[in-house]
């Protein structure tokens, strides 16, 4: 029963997120509204952690699996990808590494600065 209740709460929040997504004309997906709602509910004490924790962590743990169908869909993008394969491969690899480098170093520098204050 516990897991059923936890999963119901998570699904209801997702549903509210979906409703907000269809009502508000912003490019914010349902999942981000839902994430904000759940965070606010937890932080304000409306919802206690044990109402969602186990099922929530289970869903997070299996999240990579949920990308499999879309990733296999690459087979359908094959003919569009082939002509630009080389530039796309280089850009994707280099920019992903650069983002990690800059975002990580800047954050590290900033947390160091804050600790000094």
């Amino acid at each position: 029963m516990k897991y059923l209740r936890q999963f119901s709460i998570i699904l209801l929040i997702s549903l509210v997120g979906e409703a907000l997504h269809s009502l508000i004309p912003l490019p914010v997906p349902a999942s981000i509204y839902g994430l904000a709602i759940l965070f606010i509910a937890l932080a304000s004490g409306v919802l206690s952690l044990d109402k969602v924790k186990e099922t929530g962590y289970f869903l997070i743990e299996v999240m990579p699996l949920m990308f499999i169908p879309a990733a296999v869909g690459l087979l359908g993008a094959y003919h569009v990808l082939m002509p630009v394969l080389l530039p796309y491969a280089v850009i994707t690899l280099v920019s992903t590494l650069l983002v990690m480098l800059v975002a990580g170093r800047v954050t590290q520098f900033m947390t160091g600065e804050e600790a000094k204050e």
């Binding site: 994430l35 997070i60 999240m63 630009v84």
Partner: protein, 230 residues
């Protein structure tokens, strides 16, 4: 066999789970980042489809039910974030500036290299949302006139790449702070990278999860400006 698969309710989900399981087994055995369970499962399924001569859409029809859980799972990223709320409050400014710098790096580097390779506007805007979560990235690509299917493909490849490279990149770039690791991974490689960050530690995972949302929203605004540059 193809006909059986078209009518079968379970095979799409079953083959996804089994191939992912094989991926996890290989990862445990070899302990190398390249044995990424998601990557292995996708390759195994692609091989299976090619060898058996099955259209990938037949597979997707059966397996799509797994994708439906992506929204609830993303919602749940609020849980680790809440568990790290003290850390978040204390380092809020650093985290936000870190994510913003990452988003700008992504946009600037994609622009610079697109100019270098002589890509056209459509090819360029397809790449702009490459580091953010699929749900937001698809919308951005569509809005700016990119190839949406290709954007989804690039986003997923970026995620897999990020999760494979995360540990090595943090080491080489001397990113040692858990918060900084979380920002780096989440900003560069969204939800797929975040799964890796979760394995690395609670703080890394929580902050990486936050970065998905913040980087996604910043990119919506940033990409619409950057789309005018090429």
């Amino acid at each position: 066999m193809s006909e059986f698969m078209q009518n079968s309710v379970f095979w799409g989900v079953a083959i996804s789970f089994v191939s992912y399981g094989i991926g996890m087994m290989l990862q445990r055995k070899f302990r190398m980042a390249i044995f990424n369970p998601l990557l292995i499962s996708v390759i195994l399924i692609m091989l299976f489809l090619t060898i058996s001569g099955t259209d990938y859409r037949v597979y997707q029809e059966g397996a799509d039910v797994i994708s439906y859980f992506l929204t609830p799972a993303t919602v749940c990223l609020a849980i680790p974030l809440y568990e790290q709320i003290e850390l978040l409050k204390k380092n809020f400014k650093a985290i936000m500036i870190g994510i913003l710098s990452g988003v700008l790096t992504s946009l600037v580097s994609v622009l610079a290299m697109s100019v270098f390779f002589g890509l056209n506007h459509k090819e360029y805007t397809t790449l702009l949302p490459k580091s953010i979560t699929t749900a937001i990235g698809m919308g951005v690509s569509e809005e700016l006139g990119g190839y949406v299917t290709l954007t989804v493909a690039i986003i997923i490849i970026t995620g897999i790449l990020g999760s494979i490279l995360a540990e090595a990149a943090c080491k080489v770039f001397h990113i040692t702070e858990p918060i900084a690791k979380g920002v780096a991974i989440g900003t560069a490689s969204h939800a797929i990278g975040t799964s890796k960050a979760m394995e690395m530690g609670e703080t890394e995972g929580a902050i990486s999860g936050l970065s998905i949302a913040v980087a996604g929203l910043l990119t919506v605004a940033g990409a619409s400006v950057f789309a005018c540059f090429l």
